[in-house]
């Protein structure tokens, strides 16, 4: 994919509203057929960026190229995209057919051709035979499908989805998520979706653009983003991440309390305080005192392990989440996810002592101070 020229290229895109900087120097390439998610907390600028791509807002600086054409200064009506909003924005006084046909009619497409295209589109989004209903007579999920059909009607090169699922209830959301993704794959339409829902981004996107405070924090596949978050922000925004205060020692590892811990490569200079990050599910439990010689399941190479105590345990359905304290942790607590099996096998419960391991390939270190 990376070999071909990008379908959409953003360079140095900035946007400020008065003294407030909504976007700062955004650069991004999106390839043809790709499904990209803009993910971030509200106010991070993701919707503004989407609207700039659509031409609904004009960037304060920067350039946008779509299919090799500089579209930076084009009004929305001269760009090539379809858009779906969180609110659906269906025309309430027009029935489903007329909504979907809205753009086609205006383009002067023949009546029969329009009708056929509308029928196709409705079938595509799974709403055949609903054409004569009015939006108010449809459920939220159905309305959003109509909005999708309408956005696709003009066969746009780029499909923009602005939080399309967030107004729907959880079940419909899950279902529609899957459908949109498979539809996108089938049509091969380059798609950008804005969302604040990490699960949505992880399941739907080919690549995720994590944004915060108007800058791109990280761009990568869902797995990259999850496994190798480049910053504590990304780590925390996607999934749960323990963040423990530590100090970088001379060997490239860190000191957590008195304990030396091996970790992934990082760029923090030695002697500085830093953040040790590890996901709860990456914490490995061992029997109590597993580090000490003579313990029943003694660990041969006891690197990255320490003793801890279960302060609290929460059952979350498929696993338990335990809150651990320990001497090396100092004031901080460590969250660890234990499988039901492990809990049963090791008899884990609140108050229980155990040894935990932080596997070096899962420990990341970031500059800064853990809060």
């Amino acid at each position: 994919m990376s070999g071909s020229a990008p379908y959409l290229r953003l360079q140095g895109v900035s946007k400020s509203f008065g003294s407030f900087t909504a976007l700062q120097d955004i650069a991004l390439d999106v390839h043809e057929g790709e499904f990209v998610c803009f993910l971030g907390p509200s106010g991070c600028g993701k919707t503004t960026l989407l609207r700039i791509i659509a031409g609904l807002e004009i960037q304060s600086a920067g350039q946008i190229t779509q299919a090799g054409v500089d579209i930076s200064a084009l009004p929305p009506s001269q760009r090539d995209f379809g858009i779906v909003f969180q609110s659906y924005a269906l025309f309430p006084n027009l029935n489903v057919n007329r909504n979907v046909a809205y753009g086609l009619e205006n383009a002067g497409s023949a009546r029969a051709a329009t009708a056929q295209r509308v029928e196709e589109l409705l079938a595509l989004v799974g709403l055949p035979d609903q054409g004569t209903k009015y939006p108010a007579q449809l459920s939220g999920g159905q309305q959003q499908r109509v909005a999708l059909a309408r956005a696709l009607a003009m066969s746009p090169g780029l499909l923009l989805l602005d939080e399309p699922l967030s107004a729907l209830d959880a079940q419909v959301r899950g279902h529609l998520r899957h459908e949109i993704k498979s539809l996108q794959r089938r049509l091969g339409v380059t798609t950008i979706m804005v969302t604040h829902d990490q699960e949505e981004a992880l399941t739907m996107a080919d690549r995720i653009v994590v944004m915060d405070h108007g800058v791109v924090e990280q761009v990568g596949t869902p797995l990259e983003i999850y496994r190798e978050p480049v910053s504590p922000f990304v780590a925390n925004f996607i999934g749960t991440m323990n963040q423990l205060p530590c100090e970088v020692n001379g060997t490239g590892g860190v000191k957590l309390g008195v304990l030396s811990i091996a970790c992934q490569d990082h760029s923090v200079e030695s002697g500085a305080s830093a953040i040790l990050a590890i996901r709860p599910e990456d914490v490995i439990p061992h029997g109590a005192g597993a580090r000490s010689p003579g313990a029943p399941d003694i660990i041969e190479t006891p690197g990255n392990t320490f003793d801890a105590r279960i302060e609290d345990m929460e059952f979350l359905g498929s696993f338990f989440r335990a809150e651990l304290s320990g001497q090396v942790l100092g004031e901080a607590h460590l969250l660890a996810d234990f499988s039901i099996n492990a809990v049963r096998r090791m008899g884990l419960e609140t108050g229980k002592e155990l040894t935990v391991e932080l596997p070096a390939e899962r420990v990341r270190v970031y500059a800064g101070t853990a809060v």
Binding site: L56, Q63, P92, A136
Partner: protein, 568 residues
């Protein structure tokens, strides 16, 4: 890829390419701004500057104002105006609150009927209650004993008349305020065993606080700026609104008229500003999760409410009925046989039946042009994406007319449009200036109606349309207007009825060719032809009633036909 490397990325914002839509939008906003500047701002400026000039147009600073305050017969009107306005406001607010309470918070019967009857005064010019009161409380009035010898002409008449015609305005606000309250608060109060009275003072009143405050300012402004009631029944009790008329029409002293206008403008603007400030604080108080309150039956309270509302409704209908009756009596009080002689307007002052036709024409044009204009401007302001500054300025200018009394606007129009140097001088003394002034006079309420309706529709319609390559004007026509149709209808009816009843601005602007029914009422009353004045006032009522009925029928019909989408 190559493109990007060849063209260095500019660090300036892109210069938008020519875009017809954006230019149409900007042009529309510019025209809207220009319209409001010409129709509202410049005339007011002309009026203000006139108050600092002598008869020959030389600037003389505050001399006119000094003269004003040195003439007790003039400056005395300030306290007169304030007194009647405050007293009438207290009366109307109390009654309207009780009436609204009965409608929203009891299980009284015939609520729909009472709600409808209370709106009757809106159909009539404010001159009408004055005329009716002459027959009710005048020297030969059949209810004069109620006043115990006090004359109806003056303070009492103005207060009563003002109370009559401002009642529905206060009531509508109160009903809205009282309907908005949250049932959960009452449940909480009940759970905490608060007494009924305590609940009223701790839950009901605070809940309706902003509505009450708003109603207070609305009624106060309506009364202090009203010209009709004091003109007919004010006797020698001079108030600011009638002073403007006396100075301008009676003595053609335009400079002093401008000074009095400023005196009237001050309380109106103050009331408006304070109300705006208070209302701004309201927003956070209303929770979207509130549960609407549904009253439970309570025999004593419901019967009390029924009696109160019956008395009130009876009085409102009586005032209207008296005018209707008076217009038919041949020679009150000496010949009580009935007939239509007073409807022979041709032999009276005021322009005859032509005045009524003119009024119809004026009201129709105002409704048509006004609604189109106000709605389009509101659309541009609300949905426009460009020219932010321009839109903010237009929004602010659109609020100004609410604070400007009709008399002041009318006088301002004389100054501005009757200036031979004004290129628009040609519309002076024509139907056009009447329509323009009336649209401007009632602009704000229509504008707010349109904005409210527009705010309720999805903000992304324009974005969707442009993504579908459909220009915004097509979406405006195909979607926005049909969706807002109920609001558009009610704007048109509002403008029509007000154009039929208004006297204040147009009294300075009508010409022999463009006599109006409402002005004719005033002129006939002025000439002592009170019965024909009542007849013409009733013609206005009948006209408005017909329009309201047609509106009701039409909107029901149209709703059935085109608003199917509203049904689930």
């Amino acid at each position: 890829m190559t493109d990007a490397t060849l063209n260095p990325v500019s660090n300036r914002g892109p210069r938008a390419r020519f875009n017809l839509e954006a230019w149409v939008m900007r042009g529309g906003i510019a025209i809207a701004g220009l319209f409001l500047i010409v129709a509202v701002i410049l005339p007011l400026y002309a009026m203000l500057s006139k108050s600092f000039e002598d008869k020959d147009g030389a600037f003389i600073g505050l001399t006119n104002y000094v003269a004003y305050f040195d003439t007790p017969s003039l400056s005395y009107s300030i306290s007169n105006s304030l007194t009647v306005s405050i007293v009438a406001t207290i009366i109307v607010i109390t009654l309207a609150f009780a009436y609204a309470y009965a409608i929203t918070r009891t299980c009284m019967r015939f609520k729909g009927f009472f709600r409808l009857v209370a709106l009757v005064p809106i159909l009539a010019p404010s001159l009408l209650p004055g005329i009716s009161f002459i027959y009710m409380f005048g020297k030969k009035g059949f209810m004069r004993e109620l006043l115990m010898g006090e004359p109806i002409y003056g303070f009492i008449g103005i207060v009563l008349g003002s109370s009559f015609w401002t009642f529905p305005h206060a009531l509508l606000i109160m009903i809205t305020a009282l309907s908005l309250s949250d049932a959960r608060l009452y449940e909480a109060a009940e759970a905490l065993r608060a007494s009924k009275l305590r609940t009223f003072f701790t839950v009901t009143l605070p809940g309706a606080k902003y509505g009450v405050i708003s109603a207070i300012f609305v009624v106060f402004t309506l009364v202090i700026t009203d010209f009709g009631v004091p003109k007919v029944i004010g006797g020698q009790y001079s108030v600011l609104a009638t002073d403007i008329y006396k100075q301008v029409i009676g003595q053609q002293n335009f400079q002093m008229g401008a000074v009095v206008s400023v005196m009237l403008l001050i309380p109106a603007v103050l009331a408006f500003t304070v109300d705006r400030l208070v209302q701004r604080r309201q927003v956070a108080l209303l929770s979207a999760r509130a549960v609407p309150y549904a009253p439970k039956p309570s025999r004593g309270r419901d019967i009390g409410a029924l009696i109160f509302c019956s008395v009130m409704a009876g009085m409102l209908l009586l005032v209207l009925g008296v005018a209707a009756y008076a217009s038919l009596v041949k020679f009150w009080p000496y010949n009580l046989s009935l007939g239509f002689t007073h409807y022979n307007f041709e032999i009276m002052d005021g322009g005859g039946w032509g005045a009524w036709f003119n009024s119809m024409k004026m009201a129709g044009l105002t409704a048509l042009i006004g609604t189109t204009l106000v709605f389009t401007v509101a659309y541009l302001v609300e949905k426009g994406q460009d020219a932010r500054f321009g839109r903010v300025v237009i929004q602010a200018m659109a609020m100004v007319p609410l604070a400007v009394p009709g008399m002041v606007l009318g006088l301002a129009y004389i100054f501005f449009f009757n200036n031979p140097a004004n290129p628009l001088n040609g519309i002076y003394a024509t139907m056009a200036i009447l329509v323009l002034s009336t649209v401007a006079h009632f602009y704000t309420v229509a504008h707010l109606t349109a904005v409210t309706a527009l705010k309720q529709i999805d903000g992304e319609f324009e974005s969707v349309s442009s993504s579908l390559k459909v220009p915004f004007w097509t979406t405006f026509r195909r979607v926005t207007v049909p969706v807002c149709q109920p609001a558009i209808f009610s704007m048109a009816v509002y403008l029509f009825m007000n154009a039929m009843t208004t006297v204040s601005a147009v009294v300075f602007l009508y010409s022999p060719d463009t006599n109006l029914a409402s002005v004719a009422v005033m002129n006939m009353d002025d000439a002592g032809d009170i019965a024909p004045a009542a007849a013409m006032a009733m013609m206005i009522v009948y006209t408005n009633l017909t329009v309201v009925l047609i509106y009701g029928l039409l909107s029901r019909l149209v709703e059935k036909r085109t608003q199917a989408w509203r049904q689930r």
